[in-house]
């Protein structure tokens, strides 16, 4: 590593319900991203000409999210015309991948200041809109046996023997933690209200959280993936896991991540860039890791990715104060804690995507900000962020305060 990659700031939009009646449905994805860039500029009185690149994750980069939306956001935010922009897609890890690539750009010494983040308006560009050969091309699909991730999540629960009550209990905790954190103002530093052209607020805080979630309410929800499983996807999964008599479909809308709209932006730079622009570093990226596991069950990558990151950093789980795992599904978080042998007490302490939602391309960078805020609030040092990723991939990033 030539130089350290410092985190100078990390902000996000509130997460809006990703449906027609969601508050952010009227907001274009390009506006979600541009709002954050303008806020970074405003907060730090940033000379945007000093920014080398803007890296944005987006998982459905078609239509109004297509055509390198990162560069479009740069222009729409009226940043200096010298600033470049690139959109990337590593499925659900895109936001964290953007952070990691930005960190690598800085660490290599080839660039000095980069914005990393992501944008996803799931209400406007629905999940799956980008298609892809993996799912939609029968030849590839037959070859790989692609199974919807929810069935992968159900399979993890089946293998581990986690019941509907187990996953619901996890989901309830996520809701209660997120509600408490929001009420206590833990998210206030990072959440930037989305405003209309008159400056009127459209959405000021996360709207997906359901503070009064009870086990009873959760227990009444119907399994989301039983029907899909019955048409043949369960059979495809059991081909890979023939020791299982059947898949126990325990995941519901209540214990799976919510579909939401949102964007995130993390300002990452070298020590020199900070000095030149008079920015105070809040933390630094210690290391990053990415790998892949079985693509059929798809969601078991985070544990191995975290271990890979820890090993590269020469650390053990005991060196990490807080863990942040994207709650794609309850069983993913449970499996992550089991794989690393860590307690829920230090994992997703302010809830996660089950409560707040998972705006696919933006989430990874959001988690970096959320956990950095919490490290500061607790005056702790180190955190590890991980996500499960399409195709069985896993991603992890270790950050520490400086």
């Amino acid at each position: 590593m030539t130089q350290s990659a410092y985190i100078y700031d990390a902000i996000r939009t509130p997460r809006g319900k990703g449906k027609r009646d969601g508050s952010l449905h009227e907001v274009k994805p390009v506006a979600l991203g541009a709002g954050l860039l303008r806020e970074l500029q405003r907060r730090h009185d940033l000379d945007t000409a000093c920014v080398d690149d803007v890296v944005m994750g987006c998982v459905s980069p078609v239509g109004e999210q297509g055509g390198d939306i990162a560069k479009t956001i740069v222009q729409f935010a009226d940043w200096h015309e010298s600033v470049a922009g690139v959109q990337l897609d590593r499925f659900c890890a895109s936001g964290l991948e953007a952070v990691n690539i930005a960190a690598m750009k800085i660490a290599s010494g080839w660039e000095e200041l980069v914005v990393a983040g992501g944008v996803e308006s799931m209400s406007r560009v629905p999940m799956g809109a980008a298609g892809g050969a993996w799912i939609n091309d029968p030849e590839v699909n037959v070859h790989d046996g692609a199974v919807p991730q929810g069935i992968g999540a159900d399979t993890i629960a089946t293998i581990e023997g986690w019941s509907r009550e187990d996953v619901d209990a996890y989901a309830q905790a996520s809701q209660l933690r997120a509600a408490a954190a929001r009420a206590s103002g833990y998210f206030d530093r990072s959440v930037v209200p989305v405003r209309d052209l008159n400056g009127m607020p459209i959405l000021e805080s996360d709207e997906f959280i359901k503070p009064d979630t009870s086990m009873d309410v959760l227990g009444q929800l119907r399994p989301s993936f039983a029907k899909m499983g019955a048409i043949g996807f369960d059979d495809l999964m059991l081909r890979k896991y023939p020791n299982l008599p059947a898949i126990d479909h325990v995941h519901t809308p209540g214990n799976s991540s919510g579909i939401v709209d949102g964007a995130s932006a993390v300002l990452i730079g070298s020590e020199q860039a900070g000095r030149d622009l008079d920015l105070a570093p809040r933390g630094r990226i210690v290391t990053t890791a990415v790998l892949a596991t079985d693509p059929t069950i798809m969601l078991t990558g985070p544990g191995p990715a975290a271990k890979k990151a820890l090993q590269k950093a020469g650390m053990a789980t005991a060196d990490i104060d807080l863990f942040e795992i994207n709650e794609a599904f309850a069983s993913v978080a449970l499996r992550f804690m089991k794989d690393l042998d860590i307690s829920h007490e230090i994992t997703n302490v302010n809830g996660g995507a089950i409560a707040m939602g998972h705006p696919l391309g933006a989430t990874g960078a959001m988690l970096v900000g959320t956990v950095l805020d919490e490290l500061e609030r607790r005056n702790q040092k180190r955190a590890l962020v991980a996500l499960c990723v399409g195709g069985g991939q896993g991603i992890a990033t270790i950050i520490e305060r400086v």
């Binding site: 029968p138 059979d235 081909r239």
Partner: protein, 717 residues
Amino acid sequence: MAERINGFIYDKDSDGLVTVTMDMDGPVNAMNGQYRVAMAETVTRLENEKDLKGVVITSAKSTFFAGGDLRALSSVAPGEEAGQFEMIEGGVKAPLRRLEKLPVPVVAAINGAALGGGLEICLACNHRIAWNSPKVSIGLPEVTLGLLPGGGGVVRSIHMLGLEKALPILMEGRHMPVNEAREAGLVDQMEEITTNLVEAAKQWIVSNPDAWQQSWDKKGHRIPGGDIWNPKVTQTLSAAPAMLYKKTRGLLPAPEKILDVAAQAVTVDIDTALRYESRALAYLITTPQAINLITTGFFQMNSVKSGASRPRGVERSTVKKVGILGAGMMGQGIAYASARAGIQVVLKDISLEAAEKGKAYSAALLDRQIERGRKTADDKQQLLDRILPTADDDELRGCDLIVEAVFENIELKARVTRQAEPFLAEGGIFGSNTSTLPIGQLAEVSAKPENFIGIHFFSPVDKMPLIEIICGRQTSDETLARAFDYAQQIRKTPIVVNDSLGFFTSRVFSTFLDEGARLLVEGLDPVLIDAMGKKIGMPVGPLAIQDEVSQELTRKAAETHREMGVLGSKGDNSCNIAVCERLIGEFGRGGRYHGGGYYEYLEDGSKQVWPTLYELYFRDDMEMPEGDIGDRLLFRQVIESLKCLQEGVLRSVADGNVGSLLGIGAPSWTGGFIQFVNTYGLQCFIDRCEALAEQYGERFRAPQIVREALEQGGTFH
């Protein structure tokens, strides 16, 4: 003036309308070398025709066109794909493409079955008129032969009907009656009188002189239901592979390739898609699955059904009155199947009440069909009127055939045989529906052992298509022929085997159960064992099916055989018998209908492994490659089938293959348990057997007959 072009009759009338009547050498028109020349030359002639106003294509045969030349296709060797591709592209597709591009309307006048290649010719026409007759069936059955419609059938049907409607036609390969084909959109017009077809076609041309361009060649053409950019289409394509896997377990490449070509058809232009379709067919032709499906599913099935195993020179017979002894599960099913075929049935049991109960089974089956709209109350009454329940032997008087279906007890069978036989009509025959007892021994009490034969039905009789006919040493050709005719009369497929313990089907099937039991005893997870049974393509895993058969039945049969001193003389079921006896003896687990066996059956209809089973046998440290588990379950059955052939229990390879497919549930991709060896490769098979024998036991040694066949450089046929 009509003239012949290599088997096509070319006739241009004074109005400029050309009628092409396909009249190829042989009984049917087929897509062979003669056809390819005929069609190419005909199209060239049409292209050069002056004042051409339209073209009608019809047939001089009773079928319109029979499809591909399967004999030729099944002899193509791996490595010859390039030649096949050229033949499909240049020989079949190019002339059809030129035909549909003629600047005049081209109409198919479909006077008989148009299946496969026959329908593909029609799809390259602008309009299809079919004779509205039960003799005309329409469809693209290639998938059932391990192939795909490579003459443009996949691509054109999708452009015509859309992906959603075309996929079932392509993936299921059903033969459709005309009205259904009309509804599906494959036929545009129906004519009631076959001789009016050509005239109707000409009229259509005269009324639609501008209808010469195919919709897919018109500017702005849109595929019905949308192309790949339509979210509904991508949704269909993304779910289809899983739905297919559920049916085929990934064992059949043809429907997978059809899906792939279908996806291309909604993505690229028609000519590119047609070329892609040719590549896929060229690939499929040499796959073992296609060779197996064609060899057994077509040729051997036809040979069995046409009576290859029926003695020649015996006049065809029909049964008018059948007596059935025993109104239990089998007897009542036989009664139903016989009455359904219009035969008078006397259903006898020890009490009238028991016989009535047996008859009630038919009523229940018919009620279900009435519910589904397949039968009427009238049909039901007529069928039930043919079944006479009785407890009186006297009612059997005049039966052409008596079938006993009483318990598998040799004394009981002897008694009912002696009592009933005298009532047979002059020259009538006596059949035993035994699955475990030697026919020769049962025939000993018969006054006319030459008229005694085994007629082995499968349960449930109304659904299972197979009958295994067993000839005792003294059974006459005449008796065999009559049993054979009866099987066909009730629309079953008969195979003929010689008398030997377990005959063919039961003997082979029991090795599947036995190997399942061995895997269990060795410590494998029962769930895994059954999953591997399904993975090789068996309909149900060995432990699950043992529960259905019932451990109790297995135990009883073993007991009988032990008493007779023949236990273990044919096939080795010792492990399965021991496990069944232990389950019953120590734990009272006799099978599903005895309160549970390997599985527990829950009230909600689900089942789970009986937990104690894990305590009895499961070993945590047991690891075995999945490939070995699957091969063990498959090879046991294949080896036993080969032994049956070697010992002369099987009289023909075809009977063995068809019998294993229809009676034992041999996976269709194997083409039956003997055909499997042909495409696996005889030497490869021997090598694999030896490897399995080294690791898992002598029962896997390859039978001598394989080495002999290999030495003779041949295959099993």
